[in-house]
Each structure stands twice: as C-alpha cells, then as structure tokens.
Symmetry: C2
Subunit: 557 residues, 2 copies
C-alpha cells in the first residue's frame, strides 16, 4: 500500500528521522550546488581582493518548515495592506512622530541625526529660490515580521504531538516593522526557488518501510503547491520601477543624459547577493524599457553627486571616469540600503550632509527621512497604546492589526508596577529588552538576562529610556526542522520561524489642516515575503552568525 502523506496537520514524523547517509548526502549536495549556481551566497569576510573573492552558501533550512496556511494568507492578503497604509500615513505625521521619538534624541545619536537632517532640510528648502521643486512623492519598501503565537487561552501541552488541529490555536504576533533598508528579500526569493525546485526534483519524497503490512510503504511527499512562490526580487524592483516612472520620462536638467535609480549601499558589503539582484532586475526590466540603475557607497555620495538649483540630483558614476568629460545622470529614485547605523552620520565623513543632500533633492526617496524615522522601535511601542491606531485607520482596520500586537512597554512603565520583570528573573523570562532606536535582533537582551543587564546601568534612568520591553511570543512547540550553515553545520532540532511580509508603497504629501491627514496613498502592494528559521534554544535570528536560516514555509491547514 502506497500512501502519500500530504499533511493537513503538522506531520509528526517530519522531517524524517530515518534518512540514510546517501539520502542526506544527496540533499545537502544538491542544496550547496543550487546555492552555488543561483548566487545564494555570502562573501567570506576578509577574502576579497581586487581580482577575487571567496563565497559560501547562506544559511538555509534543509527541509521547508511547517507553517499555518491560514496565517500565511492572513498576513499576505490582509494585514500587509493595512500596515502599508498605516506606515505611509505615519511618515507624513511629523507632529506625532516627533512626540514619540523626539525624546530619544538626547540619548540616541541615530535618532538625533535623523531629526537633525529633517530640520536641516526644512531650512534648505526655504533658502532655495522659488525655482526649487520639492518632491512630495515618496516610496517605501516595508517588511512586517511575525512569529506564530499560541493564544494565551490555550494550554501548551508538550505531550500532545498528535494534535490534529495545531494551527487552530495559533495566531500571528508582530516581532517588528521595518520601513528602512529592508534586507533578506533576495535571499528569501532564491531559497524559496530552491526548496520548490528540490520538491519538484523529488528530493522531499520519502519512503519508509513499516512492520505493518497495511502500511508497508508510507511516503511523505512535499508537493510544490505546499511551498508558496516567492518573487520578492521583482517585487522590490517593481516599487522602484513605479517610482521611476512617476518621477518622469526624461531628465529635467539639461545637463543630464538620462534618468536612473540610485541604490545607496554600505561599503564592502559581504551580503552583495541580497542587493545586486535588484539592480539586475531593473536593468533587465521587461515590463517596459530597461531601467538604468546605479550604485554608490554611502561615503562617496558627496564626491559623486551635485544638486542643481531646481533640486535635481546629478550623479557621476565612478565607473565613467573623469567627471569633467562625461555627462551626469539625473537620479529619479534613491533606494536606501545604507544610512541606518549611527556612525554613518558622523562628522568625519560628513554623514549628515550626505543624507541631507539626498533628501533635499527632487529624487523620489525610498523612503524619505520621516519614512525612516517610523522604523524606530518606540514607534512600534506607541502604536500599541489604547486608541493609537485610530488616529490614521478605520476602527475595523485598526482592530485587524492590533490583533498582531504583543505588549510593549517602556522600562519606566514597569518601575512602578508590582510585577516588575526588571528585577524578577522568572517574570523576565516572558520579555525581550530591545533598544528603542534600533531595529534588528542583534542588540536584544533576552529573558533571564534582562535583570543582570539592567543592573549595569546608572540608576538615574537616562539610559533606560533607550530600551523597550516587549512581551515574548509563545511559539508553538513540537515544530522540528533541519538547518545547515557554514558556521554551525547541520542540526536537527525543535525550531521556530519568523515570517516577514514585504510591502511596497508610493504616497504623496498633501496640504491639510490636520497632521494625520497629509498622506495620500498612491500605490499599496504586497511584494513578497521572507521566512527564517532557528533552533528554539537560540535567541537570535541572525543569519550572519549562522543561527537564522532562510527557509520556505511548508503550508499546512
């Protein structure tokens, strides 16, 4: 008897434990070779010379990890468009943003730098003559990250492995919202393509013999239809393409030869495979003409750009040589993949001037400086306040996304509380301490480490305002996976995944008497997703450190 086990629930024998060495070797080899041939790679840090570089595969799951189909669809079909709308509107609500993040300027250099740039832009715009043209249209490539959460009215029963409906008790909880320089989209696209290929290739078809004559051959088979398609590379490119088209069809400046997208990047990025595919997609843009796309390192911007009196940003590509001879390019869209670290705004590289020049220009910014400020953690915290969302959203929409919030507090809120996780290690287990100004998991303090960490701080509390406390998400138990990374090898263990949905927007600043009504959304799309998995015993989702692995959700009902 030959049964194809196409699970409606979490498969208890997945990934299979009885792989032969031949099978495992074959799967691992196919993964490494696929990654080699499709650029699912990282540069080995320190290996690059003018003529060569060493590369290694990015961390990836060996098997796609189970995830709820219902919640995947909810995030993609429903939540993301509301989140996109919210963050477009936040990005034009300067009054509210300043109220929430302004207090951090005193302790947080990055927050201070961003507001400094904002203020400088307002001054410059007034200095310009009447000929200066302000760009009122902005673009965004956002990513909202979720984890599966066991509803608090559900008992977690670790012995209940045969639970037929494990996804029913689950909901999505937001880890964070990123509105600036969202990474991982290209890797997620390639790894999903890989898992879908390997499934089509039959590598996830498993046979196992059984004592029971009725089940002499039980097969597990992951059908490619259980693995969602991922076109995030083209998705991100499509936002930039739309912005490019919105800018105009030809240069406004008579000096420029053509218009182009400019991708601003950090120097010597070892994660080039998460950036270049977007350039290639635009140069190969099939939905119309190819879209010229250039790339400049953050600290080289002042040397290679000029502003015209009317605000156009002229760019002199380094590869074109002598800028006294060659014609510049007029930049239509600035796509930020740098400028999110405090040192990038330091005096020695004139960092605030770099950002100011880009920001004051007529180019469409992806995103604007205010769009950037929305990514600060204290914004996420403020949105959890009672009635906060209704400032921009209908009650119905507000309700939908409020369901994805966990409790987020400032440390001050807890100081006066009886239940104080700051001092109580047992209570602290339910929390994560995150910097209020930064995104990303690398700077977090987890659970029981919180009280000891806080003791290192001065008692007056100015440092403490730089942190928020976030309730820990209760991930479902008994989800197993097999992960491989260059630094940590192959591991088979209980795992937890993070699901990110990419959104793409264009919006325009309108004149209005009320602050919360100055944004008109022009375009609002879901453009892709990413899915990362780590062992439950590890706190960080860092891919660079080999903890987090790019993955594909294996959707089950």
């Amino acid at each position: 008897m030959n049964i194809v086990h196409q699970p409606q629930t979490t498969p208890s024998n997945y990934p299979p434990e009885n792989l032969s060495p031949d099978q495992l070797h074959s799967i691992l080899t196919q993964i490494k070779d696929y990654q080699t041939n499709h650029g699912s790679l990282l540069k080995v840090i320190g290996s690059e010379t003018p003529h060569s570089v060493h590369l290694q595969p990015v961390s990836t799951s060996v098997f796609p990890t189970v995830f709820s189909r219902r919640l995947f669809n909810e995030a993609v079909d429903d939540l993301q468009l509301i989140y996109n709308e919210l963050y477009c509107k936040l990005a034009e609500d300067v009054e509210w943003l300043y109220a929430v993040t302004g207090p951090l300027r005193r302790t947080e250099p990055l927050v201070d730098a961003l507001w400094h740039v904002y203020e400088e832009i307002q001054r410059r715009r007034q200095d310009y003559g009447s000929q200066y043209i302000e760009q009122k249209i902005h673009a965004g490539v956002f990513r909202s990250d979720y984890m599966l959460h066991v509803r608090s009215d559900t008992t977690i029963d670790s012995d209940d492995e045969e639970d037929e409906n494990w996804t029913q008790n689950l909901c999505l909880k937001q880890v964070e919202f990123n509105s600036y320089s969202c990474a991982g989209g290209c890797h997620a696209d390639k790894v999903a393509g890989m898992h879908r290929f390997l499934a089509r290739r039959g590598l996830y078809d498993f046979a196992s013999s059984s004592e029971d004559p009725e089940e002499q051959s039980i097969n597990i088979r992951i059908l490619p239809s259980s693995l969602p398609q991922n076109n995030t590379i083209n998705g991100i490119a499509s936002v930039l393409a739309s912005a490019h088209k919105t800018y105009g069809s030809k240069p406004f400046s008579s000096k420029a030869s053509h218009i182009a997208v400019l991708m601003v990047v950090q120097p010597n990025n070892f994660n080039i495979a998460d950036e270049r595919p977007i350039e290639y997609a635009l140069w190969n843009w099939i939905d119309g003409e190819p879209i010229p796309t250039y790339r400049i390192e953050w600290q080289q911007i002042l040397h290679h750009t000029q502003l015209t009196p009317t605000g156009e940003l002229l760019f002199f590509p380094p590869e074109n040589g002598d800028s006294t001879i060659t014609q510049p390019v007029e930049i239509s869209v600035i796509y930020h993949r740098a400028g999110y670290e405090p040192h990038e705004y330091s005096e020695d590289i004139n960092g605030k001037e770099i950002r100011t020049r880009l920001e004051v220009s007529r180019a469409i910014k992806c995103p604007s400086i205010l769009g950037h400020i929305t990514t600060i953690k204290s914004v996420q915290q403020a949105l959890t306040g009672p009635g906060a969302l209704e400032r921009w959203l209908t009650k119905e929409k507000a309700g939908r996304i409020r369901g994805t919030f966990v409790e987020i507090c400032s440390l001050g809120d807890f100081m006066s509380s009886a239940k104080n996780p700051i001092k109580d290690e047992e209570l602290a287990e339910n929390y994560i301490l995150k910097p209020a100004s930064l995104e990303g998991g690398g700077n977090n303090i987890y659970g029981a480490d919180i009280p000891a960490f806080l003791k290192t701080m001065s008692p007056e509390g100015s440092e403490k305002s730089a942190y928020i406390l976030m309730e820990r998400i209760r991930s479902p138990l008994n989800v197993y996976g097999m992960l491989m990374s260059s630094s940590r090898g192959v591991t088979a263990d209980e795992v937890v995944s993070e699901f990110g949905v990419f959104g793409g927007c264009l919006w325009e600043r309108k004149e209005s008497s009320s602050e919360q009504d100055k944004c008109q959304v022009i375009m609002n799309r879901v453009i892709g997703w990413s899915f990362k998995t780590k062992e439950v015993t590890v706190d960080e989702m860092s891919v660079v450190k080999g903890y987090g692995c790019f993955d594909t959700p294996y959707l089950v009902d």
Copy 2:
C-alpha cells in the same frame, strides 16, 4: 566633438590604457559580483564539507577580446554543420576507426579500454536473447575549437598597428575536435551574458580627453550588438531533450515509474557550475514537459543501476533511499561527463564493466563508445591525410573544412625527413607535441621544449607512436586584453583566444554494405560556443590554472 568609436578594424587603443583607479575598481567589482550572483564560480578545491563549501569566480576577461565577425559567422553558420555530419559518420565507421586508433591499444590504456568495451558489447548483445533491443540512435554534443591564423602568404608586421583590414588576412585553424564530455559550455554562456550585461550597463563606454580640439572627447563604446548572444546551456539541454523525446514517451519496463536523463559525472567535481545548469535547464524545460534529470557519479553506477532482459537501464536514485522500496527510473538518455581518464577504467572500480553496462543498455548514449573513440587525437591527424575526408563528405564540404586544418604528423613521419623538428629547436618552435590518445591542452609539449622531451624517450619508438606533432597556429599580433583570475590577478597584455563551436546531433545506425554509409543523421544543429583567452606568453589555455579566461568575442569587421 563626441565620436563613438565603433571599430570596423581592430581598435588600436583597446582595451583603454588610461582607466582611472575608480573605473577599474568599479569594473572588477561588477564582474566579481555578477559572477557571484550568476554562479560563474568554481569550488575551491579541498574546501567542501557536508554543510558548506568555498567558491571563487572562474577566470574571465575584464574586456571582451576582439575577434573577426566574418570568421565567427563562418564557424557557426557553415563549418560546424559539416563537422557534425563528419563526426556522426565517423562514429559508425568502425572499420576506419579501428584502423586509425587500434594500433594505439598497445601503448595507450584509455584507447585499449574503449575498444575493450566495444568488443565486450558485441559479445553481450549476442548473449542476450531475441527479446533484447539494441539502441541504434545516438546523440552527440561536440565542440570544434579554432584559433585565428595569419595566412602563410601574409607578412606579419608587428609595427603595422594601424592596419585597416587586419581580419582580411586571417583564417580559422582547428585546434582540436571534441566529441566526448565537452566542458565549458555553461561557463561560456554565463560569461557572455555578463559581458553583454556590462556593455548594456555602460561599463565599456570610455571617454578620454584629447589635446586635439577636434577630438576633445573620443569615446569608445562596445555595443551589445558587437557581443554575440550565447545560449549554450539551453543548447546542450535541447540535444538531450530531443534524444529523450526520441527514446519514447514512457518507460518500456513495467518496473519503472518514469523515464529520465542520466548525467554521469566524476566524483567531487569542483567545476559543478559547468554541469548543474544543464540539469536545471531540463527540469525547467519550457518547450514541453519538465524533463526529469538525475546525476550519478561514475563509480556508483554499478550499485545504482540494473539492466532488464530487454535492455532497459533502471536507475535507483541515491536520494530516494532504500532501493528495495522505491521504484526505479528508466533511463532514456545517458549524458557522459565522466569516463575520459584511463584510471576510470581500472580493475579496482570495475571501470570497464561500468561503461559496458551503460553502453549495452537501450538508453540513447550521448555519445556512444564509438562516438567517444572519434575524439582521439590520431583521428584528427588521420583526417588531414590526402582524400581522407571524401570517404564521408562531398568534395565541396570536404574542401570547406580541410581549409581549417594545420599540418599534423606522427613522429615517425618526421624521423626520415630532412627538416626534423624533433632535433632542431628552431624548427620545433613551429610545432606542438600532443598525446595521440588524449584531448585537452594540459598534456602538450610546446615548441622548443620538444627536442629535450623526446630525448627522455627510449630509442625504439613505441612511446613515440603515442604522440602527434601539430603545426603551430600563427596567431595575429597586436591583440590586447585584460584578464583576471583568482590565481594570477589582473594582467593586461597581448593575448590569444580560442573559439569553440558547440554542435548537437542525433544519428541512427543503418544496415548498409559499405562501412562509411551506415549513419543516417537525424538532427544536426549548432547549439552554442565558447571563447577563451590567454596571454600570448603562456602556452596552456587551462582555465583551472588561471591561464585561460572565459571571454566574449568583440566582433569587428
């Protein structure tokens, strides 16, 4: 004044010498990043572990190297179809092949192994009952390699840099013809895609200031139209797809689940990026259904295959685990990328049995054992004999390809000659000594090294029959290039290129009274090309050693 220099002749200032460090850095970075993202890579030997591997870019030219458009077209549009026809016919002319290569069996283990396999197949076929079905259709993926040659009636004038018509005095001369396990097609495809992208990207547009006010800005621009497209990956896949379709639409054996192509490879190949893309192309085959394609290492074949009494080759993919449970696959086409080295036929791995099992099966072989034997160097030599080609080709076709031959002799021919390059170092300069049984440049002895090498041999001459002497091709002077490789860095020097044309064929063995008339060509196509460039001061074209670099011809009239 702005002149676009689209050269009709060899551009004397190409590649440009006055690149700024910024320009060169940008071009080299774009090349490395493109190669990273498109799998134009080699595994670093010794770096692979179960969970990781290090990769580095394959050697490549920084700038496309000039080549004659007329001769490119001649090789692709004209010569290759004749060469394809010739080698299909050779591969069924066992009498002639044995006369030419049989004498090498005594000294050459590889030649002896191939004929041993051929003879064993004849015996086995007779042992089978009447139910056995012989596969009479064979496939070939060939590659004919050429270099530019200055006609001998032309004076080479090294000072004549301004020669307006340098391509007029050039013709193509064949370096070798490969009919077995032709490599380089995937790399050539990717590197051509890269150079075309970089041209489109504007990286080969150069401006230089001039003292002359009339030419204040002279631009060089390589238009993508000067760089031919290369679709060799799909080209090779298309031959296998045609063979697969020719085999049948479903398994002949009731035991098998489906039919599939089997790619036979060497173990632990660091050059995986030249093999895997063909598998991916077949699994993603868009011209019809996906074509299942498996891969097996040479020494694992006996363990993972079975022959049915009627001759079908059943394959048990290692990734499917326990072969007592899973259904085998029936192999439609065997694509050889292994079995070309003497040690692969050794007793300890039962190598002759490996090849015999594949060969006796009903699968279509790409190519057959006789097709393999045609790649022996002494065949190339024999074809240069007076009237030799007319055994299979019309006088007109024979004349066309005879024009690409250089003088090839056995050492014996020279022993009695007054002009004996074997002893005379000056004469030896005009020759290359090549093993009569092997293909590939790694085993050659060049020019002045020949006399000393021959002195190491025994006087009776049995070893000497293992070598042929080939006239050296007189490459045009003053072709410059810039090359980059992981092992040798970036070099700018005078260069020489080798142009290979890929052909794809299907043919059928017919009953006929005459040996030379037993082949009916079913399909004859040109499926791609490769182009490799090295410094003139280096003899070998080895890409692995970093001498030869994948390149794209920059076609000039």
